[in-house]
Subunit: 140 residues, 2 copies
């Protein structure tokens, strides 16, 4: 099951290290976006803060993960879909933040809407963040 993760690293010309494998697997196991602090927690504080910063930055540059806009100052990261790559992200899908369980979830299947802008404005990409109650919390 590590194979998929190893493949991702190799495809991006990154050395396969224990650290990177673990961080990537955190993203795969959790169906939600993770912050720097989340990863620190998940690791049991076993790897360096600096390494986490650098790993996340590398992953973003390679298009393996993407950042998610948040209204507070917290930076969240989530796995990109397959068709993202170095230099070109296609992360303009909808993000959902649940106010009950506080998870940030990528709704990869919900396409960002087309929006009519005022005269003169040209849109490159549209990011949508929806706050509300997620499926799991509604069923409780």
């Amino acid at each position: 099951m590590n194979d998929a993760v190893i493949d991702i690293l190799k495809q991006n010309q990154l050395s396969v290290t224990g650290n990177r494998l673990k961080i990537l697997s955190f993203f795969q196991k959790n169906s939600k976006a993770l912050s720097h602090a989340d990863i620190e927690q998940l690791s049991g504080k076993n790897f360096d803060r600096v390494t986490i910063y650098r790993t996340l930055q590398t992953f973003v540059e390679k298009g393996i993960i993407h950042t998610i806009p948040t209204a507070d100052n917290s930076v969240m990261y989530a796995l990109c879909k397959e068709d993202c790559g170095e230099g070109h992200h296609h992360d303009d899908h909808v993000h959902f933040v649940c106010s009950q369980c506080d998870r940030t979830i990528c709704l990869d299947d919900v396409v960002s809407p087309k929006i009519d802008l005022p005269e003169g404005y040209i849109a490159d990409n549209v990011q949508v963040v929806i706050h509300g109650t997620c499926k799991d919390c509604n069923n409780k």
Copy 2:
């Protein structure tokens, strides 16, 4: 012309101080969102960082300004429309970030779209951030 600004403070039961008047007028004069650092610059470094933090926080709580989601970790603030108040923000309008001039602009008149969510999800509010080229930069 300070009258409008003074009114806003009084309506929110806040003391009218020079500091607050200046910070509020920065928002009114600039047709764009401001960060903590922007305000520090605009003030000519004449008021304390801490005061800026506390003033912005107070304004957000009172519904005078709102934060804008950004993909990096920078926190941006912009004036709310009149119908925002303590506890209830209506800041679910579209925000536009120009990749040329780097301004973040509230498009108050562009309504957030209705988005079809998967079964089980309930949306409270929808925030949209569009990256692209703004009117001014397109006309150059």
